[in-house]
């Protein structure tokens, strides 16, 4: 076994030097490389919307997210699946619950529409401790046809809950 090392002594030394130099180069590269900032899994599990990264209050972020969720829920339904509408109903004032129910009851059997909001366009307006307006743009798709929409969501605070008082889509 050791005769082999004896015979190829120079070659093995050269290889060893090459390996050590290579490893050193890799180590130097890894050390000086600019590493991206990381914090924890919670950040990985958050949507990458810019308004979530900005220095705005948790409540305002919540209201903007709520506006997005209810806009997409209100604008995404078919006769076989209207859970989005039911979700809006769960978070709506009595008056708006009735409006959503009316929409469920009169939904044509062939209706199949979906709405996706561009999160970067969400704006929070007229915020007070008991009401807020969230405005955003999005795309509504029906039968393969896409249409740009602007959604305005009026929120009011009743007791401990923020409720949807109205949603309007402008095309």
């Amino acid at each position: 076994m050791f005769e082999f090392f004896e015979q190829h002594k120079k070659l093995i030394l050269a290889l060893a030097i090459a390996v050590v130099l290579g490893m050193t180069a890799i180590l130097i590269f890894l050390t000086v490389r600019q590493q991206p900032a990381t914090n924890n899994t919670e950040t990985v599990n958050e949507p990458a919307y810019s308004f979530l990264q900005e220095d705005i209050s948790q409540q305002d972020q919540y209201l903007m997210l709520l506006g997005k969720i209810v806009t997409e829920g209100y604008g995404t339904y078919s006769k076989s699946d209207y859970r989005g509408l039911l979700d809006v109903q769960n978070q709506a004032t009595e008056q708006f619950k009735a409006t959503v129910q009316q929409q469920i009851n009169t939904m044509p059997a062939t209706k199949n529409v979906s709405t996706v909001v561009d999160a970067e366009t969400i704006k929070l307006e007229n915020t007070s401790s008991s009401s807020a307006t969230v405005r955003m743009r999005g795309i509504s798709t029906e039968a393969g046809k896409q249409q740009s929409i602007t959604s305005t969501v009026n929120l009011v605070k009743e007791g401990e809950y923020w409720l949807v008082d109205n949603i309007t889509f402008a095309k």
Binding site: Q61, K79, N90
Partner: protein, 336 residues
């Protein structure tokens, strides 16, 4: 002889570090597995070189999981693996160096170190094989399971310094801010209880239920009307046709076409889950939390991928817009 034994011991220790690292690898993933409950302080933020060092730090980065100790042990192991591997390479290189350039004396010295390394490795390998043969549990390193409390066992939020997402002794959840909705509120104690029991974050489970069933306990997918009618006949015969597939209940556990129930195994139940079982809120939340907890751990806490698997089956390929909705609901819940 004594020196030789000493060298063998040192090398055996170093090789042992590597082998122990091998058997603890499964635990590394577990240590990173369960999601943290919401009642935690914000973990520290690391960047640059700090982030490389952070993986070896034993400072508690989450005070609420009860898993700090075994996370710390896992970190020590990872450090040991790195250190042991470097030391082993060093000794082998040293042996080679002595052998190559040390003349006749160095050759003997190099051979001796090399043989010692091989002997140490043989001892460790043989002891591992022997222990594994006697009882495989002897070579397994198990995490320390934090105790699982029911909501009723927990102390007052204020007593333990929590401000939000805390389960009160009476089973009520202290929101600490704006509540979600009245529909969610009625199930908060159950969601909190099973999220904690299955190692999930409250908001991860709450968002799942919001998206799946909008907190309607008798929700049924396909076809509408989308609620199980519970008033048909006695014993109840529901308005679902078992020739179709249906998602049933709060967590929409799916019953496949041609079946009147879903095997309970992967949902943590020993019996099949029927429609009647699945419209029971507690059964549905427990079943959904068990299955979702498994997916979250399989996906190493990547919620988006876990929601995808839950929605469309393992390796699922759901519509990205659908997955965005889950993540929006999760993010909104976190900000309430």
């Amino acid at each position: 002889m004594n020196r030789r034994l000493g060298r063998i011991s040192v090398l055996a220790f170093l090789v042992g570090q590597i082998l122990l690292g091998q058997v603890s690898l499964a635990q590394v993933s577990l240590a990173q597995g369960p999601l943290k409950p919401t009642n935690s302080t914000a973990p520290p933020t690391y960047s640059g070189v700090d982030s490389s060092i952070a993986q070896y730090l034993c400072a508690p980065d989450n005070l609420s999981t009860g898993a700090v100790l075994y996370e710390c042990i896992s970190k020590v192991y990872r450090f040991g693996i790195a250190f042991g591997a470097i030391a082993l390479v060093f000794f082998v290189v040293l042996a080679g160096y002595f052998y190559m350039v040390g003349g006749e004396t160095g050759k003997e010295k190099g051979k001796s170190i090399f043989k010692s390394a091989l002997t140490g490795m043989a001892i460790i390998l043989s002891s591992y094989v022997l222990l594994n043969f006697i009882n495989p549990d002897l070579v397994k390193i198990k995490p320390i399971q934090p105790p699982i409390f029911s909501a009723a066992d927990l102390p007052k939020c204020e007593d333990v310094g929590f401000q939000s997402g805390c389960v009160l002794p009476n089973g009520q959840v202290h929101g600490g801010g704006v509540a979600g909705s009245a529909a969610e509120a009625q199930y908060k104690p159950l969601i909190a209880k099973y999220a904690q029991a299955k190692g999930l974050e409250y908001c991860a489970l709450s968002a799942l239920i919001q998206k799946e069933s909008t907190f309607i306990y008798n929700n049924v997918s396909n076809p509408p009307p989308d609620r199980v009618n519970t008033s048909i006949g006695s014993p109840p015969s529901y308005n679902v046709t078992f020739s179709s597939g249906h998602g049933i209940g709060l967590t929409q556990v799916y019953i496949y076409p041609g079946n009147s129930s879903r095997p309970g195994g992967e949902f943590g139940f020993s019996k099949p889950l029927t429609v009647q079982d699945l419209i029971n809120p507690e059964t549905s939340i427990s079943a959904g939390a068990h299955f979702f907890g498994t997916l979250v751990r399989e996906r190493r806490n990547n919620l988006r991928q876990a929601y995808d698997d839950y929605q469309a089956g393992r390796g699922g390929n759901s519509d990205p817009a659908t997955l965005d909705k889950y993540m929006d609901m999760y993010a909104a819940c976190k900000r309430r």
